[in-house]
Symmetry: D2
Amino acid sequence: MRVGVLTGGGDCPGLNAVIRAVVRKGEQEYGWRFTGFRDGWRGVVEGDTEPLDVRAVRGILPRGGTVLGSSRTDPFAAPDGVRRIRENLAKHRIDALVAIGGRGTLGHAARLHAEHGLPVVGVPKTIDNDLSATDWTFGFDTAVGIATEAIDRLHTTADSHRRVLVVEVMGRHTGWIALHAGLAGGANVILVPEQRFDLDQVLAWVAARFRATYAPILVVAEGARPRSGGPEQGSVGEWLAAEIERRTGKEARTTVLGHVQRGGSPSAFDRWLATRFGLHAVDAVRDGAYGTMVALRGTEVVRVPLAAATARMKTVDPALYAEAGVFFG
Amino acid sequence: MRVGVLTGGGDCPGLNAVIRAVVRKGEQEYGWRFTGFRDGWRGVVEGDTEPLDVRAVRGILPRGGTVLGSSRTDPFAAPDGVRRIRENLAKHRIDALVAIGGRGTLGHAARLHAEHGLPVVGVPKTIDNDLSATDWTFGFDTAVGIATEAIDRLHTTADSHRRVLVVEVMGRHTGWIALHAGLAGGANVILVPEQRFDLDQVLAWVAARFRATYAPILVVAEGARPRSGGPEQGSVGEWLAAEIERRTGKEARTTVLGHVQRGGSPSAFDRWLATRFGLHAVDAVRDGAYGTMVALRGTEVVRVPLAAATARMKTVDPALYAEAGVFFG
Amino acid sequence: MRVGVLTGGGDCPGLNAVIRAVVRKGEQEYGWRFTGFRDGWRGVVEGDTEPLDVRAVRGILPRGGTVLGSSRTDPFAAPDGVRRIRENLAKHRIDALVAIGGRGTLGHAARLHAEHGLPVVGVPKTIDNDLSATDWTFGFDTAVGIATEAIDRLHTTADSHRRVLVVEVMGRHTGWIALHAGLAGGANVILVPEQRFDLDQVLAWVAARFRATYAPILVVAEGARPRSGGPEQGSVGEWLAAEIERRTGKEARTTVLGHVQRGGSPSAFDRWLATRFGLHAVDAVRDGAYGTMVALRGTEVVRVPLAAATARMKTVDPALYAEAGVFFG
Amino acid sequence: MRVGVLTGGGDCPGLNAVIRAVVRKGEQEYGWRFTGFRDGWRGVVEGDTEPLDVRAVRGILPRGGTVLGSSRTDPFAAPDGVRRIRENLAKHRIDALVAIGGRGTLGHAARLHAEHGLPVVGVPKTIDNDLSATDWTFGFDTAVGIATEAIDRLHTTADSHRRVLVVEVMGRHTGWIALHAGLAGGANVILVPEQRFDLDQVLAWVAARFRATYAPILVVAEGARPRSGGPEQGSVGEWLAAEIERRTGKEARTTVLGHVQRGGSPSAFDRWLATRFGLHAVDAVRDGAYGTMVALRGTEVVRVPLAAATARMKTVDPALYAEAGVFFG
């Protein structure tokens, strides 16, 4: 049996841990052989492959990024994409595919399976934690940890100077990183894309914090926006700091963490989750459970339909956000 | 309403995060007042208290340990313990207690509630992750992270010198830390208390690893023991390294992480979990749900009977341990 | 003997370590008593003090910021500033002052000593490392470490997506943080304020890096500027990324680390240096060596005239910058 | 011109940074070619080589260990060692050697140069910081940082339980790691090999610390010994904890950090130092300055005779140790 592996979408700490677990288990336990496709669906469409065996995955567990490269290639948008995929799978005698990716990559996998019978098993990945079919996705814990460490550092400098500090974290459509890092870091204001914020309310929280003799830390997801106005382009964090300076006279400074959140060595939790996802993806292939993806439910790894990955974006529940409100101000 | 708070048992990163969340929510949302009892049940038995309000909990979120101190005092073993608890609760006009602890502390809480009607809500805590009533306990993720970082560091030195490195991690009765850190760190052998190990098998894994041109890292829980023989006292890690040296002639070195694993700043995950546990414990008190403790199920915080905390120790499932075996050798 | 202590200027990891060392040694070895002045020279001018003894400094060694607060108050600009300083020192019976600060704070100290005979000893502090009188200043190593860790993380994400990543680090006038973090992080381009950069050269380095099949990381000090053009306001890092995108068509992203670099727990090196500075400042007071400041020369702490702190800004030597050039591109 | 490179002795964070800097500068700036000798002098004696060029050193800067492997082979003890070295250098047409190592490896280099005219330049390396010819060696800062982080973590658990915690750090002959980490971590007792300790004095410090309501942290170098008695074999840290328990009745626990201190990614300081050492070693080869090694003096990299590396072990100065005494107890 020969199995192809690909990683697609934005890179994410833990991708290499999945690849390693898939290869270690498939090769050692079942004697399978593997082919790596480069840069997600692009590699399958174009037949761009690289050797993948136990030797090739040695030492990659703690490394960020993906040794297979990544892209956002849509095989249905590529000329003759589906036919070329079929040809390349035949040419490399691929019996099954393990596709590791987010909503885009797995959405293509779901359609290739449903419409064209492609024997594919999915592994969900996103630092944004916005997939409803799984309790957690790997990469998220690492991103939250990095953002939390940044907030920890800002507390001391905020206090020493009584200045306002704004941290802009990833999250265009969902506020999971902002919510978790904000809670873990003890932020005084957390702003998420799911709820437009009221600048006057934010200013009231800032003022309340100063009255308590401390300085405020605001965590804002890159996709958060005010009820009215807001930045036309550029960083919402820098816009917010400028507004606070203008309206309060207090010094305000911004940190834009950017891609630091998605790079580097995965946390222990993400390596554990990614490794278990890889092991269970191999089991799914062994069982011929094509069209499914692995998912975490509690502490168990289960299988759900691939389509579930793309069915609904998991946004921050208003009740959860309200729960955090006791720490605002 | 006045609520007492106590922390008992071994200290654990996240205890302060629970205390802070309880006080922030209770005081700000419900106007409650709080009393801290020092050193777990000892403080309740002896009436040793300290003030606890929003001001007192400022800045403690990222700090390890517990600002209230801890002990393993058994109120039923203390002379007149239960009577003195009643008197001290009356004296300080305590309407409800939040007890944060592990199997011991919560076991006493369960019995005080069941037999004496004490109005108590529990919050589970253990770095060992050995409570069956909750998916995870806070402190565990921090401990696993620290052990994983140590393993990461050992890989490079093991490889440069072709030597065997043994890491002894916490876990007298359960191997959760060893299993998770071993998986996350890419250990070549993981030994847990739940299964006595076969030294010849361990040596075979060590030999296999050397054949693959790498050097082996062994992660051993402090409570792991061989099928026969083993250390009469002292560190099992050092015993194992000595045995490996004696029988293979390879140099073997040991790291005993010890209490480093339970100290220091909690991980972002543990702060999030501890904070949510604290918020939900306040809700349980508000609802008069005495005799319950909070627990994590998937991503939800739920309530379970306090007795559940002590009903059954959650040990490492043989199937989970076997799953990790693909990485051995 | 009673000694006053103040911290001025931008906050910096290690300030608390100095304060602790001064108090520990002064109180325990010489039986002195201490008074803390709040917010740098502002506290001395306004007589704003707080108690400072061994108990007050317990546990502050690993904490960022300063327990005494900080400001940029210029006592010569304050109405009647010098007279009020004299009065407040007399009122609190202060025999000597330890002033911890950068070019501003120590410049005022030098003048107060030279023109008004104030018995003051200085301790140099700046994360920018721009003081010529000392080999290193505490805070710098911490800042470089944080920036380096960010660069480490960006490498994996840059490689996975073949994108350009720009990191803007602190340094308005000097490029020390950029140079050290860029070297330590393996940056492909380092831009410093001391030398205006040529955008075409930067683009050539970016192109060379892509040809080597890797993705480029650019480290840019906030004060670096191109030979012509450049941002009128806002972040030079974001300007640079936009220019690269515009001229190469490659995706480019920016991280603006901001105050994360000056907050949080000091590195072991900075704690060691700050502690030794504190111990030696006490010796200088004991010896009546007013008008001096402590400085590091090799591994020795020596005394230099306070005026030396402000005599010349230590900029990045062109030869040192050229030495790093072998890693560009 | 063809240059051989070797790394010998105990591995040390920063070795790869030196190798990379040597190859980058030699190849790009002077067009040299390089040959890597495996496992220190063993590779030169046995002619065991591997290719070494810019491609081979990509990505190794942040990695611990050494890509060339290491050993403690003494070429003068190997049969016909010197003759075989000559033959292998001729066979591979090596014009010069860069030897990276500690007292052993560089001692052999010095003798090979002095007695046999070998064209060799040295780069000093030791995590122990015990070379008198240079202000600092790379690897030391990383080791101190790791030990300091462990002490930081132990503070919270020590305080929560009023227990004694002992950390054993590296240092068989010198106490530099113990002294720096002890100072940086705020240890209450620091014990070094240079001065036999008085157990009664240690117990007095422990008692004093408990009276101050805190719990003591003791940092002990592996080579520290009491004035009388002491462990016949095994860990001095565990011996000390057992003695403290026996004589005070207080619970005492030990962490033995072991090789965790020499593994893993080098600190930013060590990468900077190692990189500069590598660049300057290339300059020394270019200048034909054989028989010298690079060294740090203040912030400058200078050349000193190779023999200086082994002339005198740099031990902890009693005055420096006494300076730290103000923090004991």
